[in-house]
Symmetry: C3
Subunit: 214 residues, 3 copies
């Protein structure tokens, strides 16, 4: 199952990059950045494995995933200044990680008897969003947690692509197709950003969903 | 197992109402309210299923529960102004949700070999409190998380009623009895509120547990 | 499996002491201290059991662990003033709890087919750190969560000691050896404290990891 493992490691590396950047910006020391990054990069996969009953989780059985995450974090910690010049670095890697985990999560759900469109989508969303939910809860970026709307939509579309393409396409093509579709959607989101309407409890009228200024 | 499913859906709808109200008051946009509400309405059941080893959790296998939660949230989002006039709406629905999840949790524990008074109670408490613990942690209502003392007591009493009544009553009577007892206790709590003593670390004397003003 | 149970209860009692002290200092009332303490004392073990697939978790099957935690909390609540005079009480009991959970976690991993050095270490770290991560997240001591670096290192060293000693030593010796080594390391840490370097995102230079003043 090599193609699956390649995508899983790719997802862990991508989430490690954006996790390490968040940790460094929150002024954690080197060991804390390492802990924080590993929790967020491995977290989504552990939640996924526990939920589908695939215990002990993969990353407790095979050290590859943990080692990839640690190595990536150390690299980022020492090349931080160069990467930080690009504004969207963190979101770019989030998009890649989301693509990879959506694909591997959808595939794993099929293998573990959750072979309905609903089951595949639910597991893919948990796997793709889980780690970053934990990360944002820890550093208290409350608004960002709930501004992931488009990430959700991307994961749902990606998982649907996986589900329908695996009915027709052989071998690992559905996995790759899901991966690419989710990433392309994520990159589009970085360029063309949408917001959803929010109710303002005081003025009792609909306002823009832009929490960043609040 | 229809009666069980009806109660489970009733619990999810009730927690969706109070979750949506919390989300709207925290000024989330529509998609964030949806995400937040689903997490808190489904969360307790997922924790319960993972803990008793009932994986994948019910709400990953059957879309009914997710759809009920989404439909309720959308309804609340667009009828918010009318509901918000009543002060205790949110607590009223919390009480119903707690009753439903205490009953279904206690029943599920029996089915999954946790058929002691202790096992039944522990699972019922997790199922009833789990979702709201997650909700309050996300919106950072720290004090409220730990002011749920009476909720705990209600869930414990409800689960005990379930455990002892199932020794004598046939069919679904224990389920309904537990549901009603827990709700009645919850409604009483809204009217007649107790507090527990707290130690004040500075003055070193016992003070009132009313954190709301602090 | 008596020796294992003794260590597990010892760990729960130790974490209940430090949990209760944290709760009292955060000015929770008596019921909230009880809830908070039980969550943090039982939490690490529940996470461990869920991850290795040992469901329902031990503390849902056997009330001993919950009762130990409640009894300890009540004792602390009423003897608080005497204990609070000693500055490092909370850390001292954290060190004992970490030692006990590292040992029982490592042993349980072996029993559940995670019998590699990596698997044993990963489970021991989750069991040892899990409860206190939850505790610090609830009371929002963000910096302290990530200043547990030496706790991590201690758990890793303790688990390695367990793994290598069980290859040569019979019976419960590895369990005790791991317990003692981890505690001694923890007590040394309280006396001789190290910090790790942190990157300061503004000044772009390495600064001390001492977040306490920040």
């Amino acid at each position: 199952m090599t193609a699956w493992n390649v995508l899983e490691v790719m997802g862990i590396v991508a989430f490690s990059v954006s996790g390490a950047l968040t940790g460094i910006r929150s002024r954690f020391d080197i060991f804390s950045v390492l802990t924080f990054t590993v929790i967020t990069a491995i977290g989504g996969g552990v939640m996924r494995d526990v939920i589908i009953g695939n215990t002990p989780p993969l990353s407790f059985r095979d050290p590859t995933f943990l080692i990839s995450s640690c190595a990536t974090t150390m690299t980022i910690f020492f090349t931080y200044r160069r990467l930080d010049r690009y504004q969207n670095t963190s979101r770019f890697f989030d998009a890649i990680g989301l693509g990879a985990f959506t694909a591997t999560g959808a595939n794993l759900a099929m293998v573990h008897q959750l072979n309905s469109l609903f089951g595949v989508t639910a597991v893919a969303v948990i796997a793709g969003i889980g780690g970053s939910l934990v990360r944002d809860t820890i550093v208290r970026e409350i608004h960002y947690v709930f501004r992931r709307e488009v990430y959700f939509v991307n994961a749902i579309i990606g998982a649907s692509v996986f589900y329908y393409s695996q009915l027709y396409l052989p071998s690992f093509w559905p996995l790759y197709l899901c991966f690419i579709v989710t990433i392309v959607l994520g990159l589009c989101h970085i360029k063309y950003k949408w917001n959803f309407p929010a109710l303002d409890p005081d003025s009792k009228k609909v306002v823009s969903g832009d929490h960043e200024s609040g």
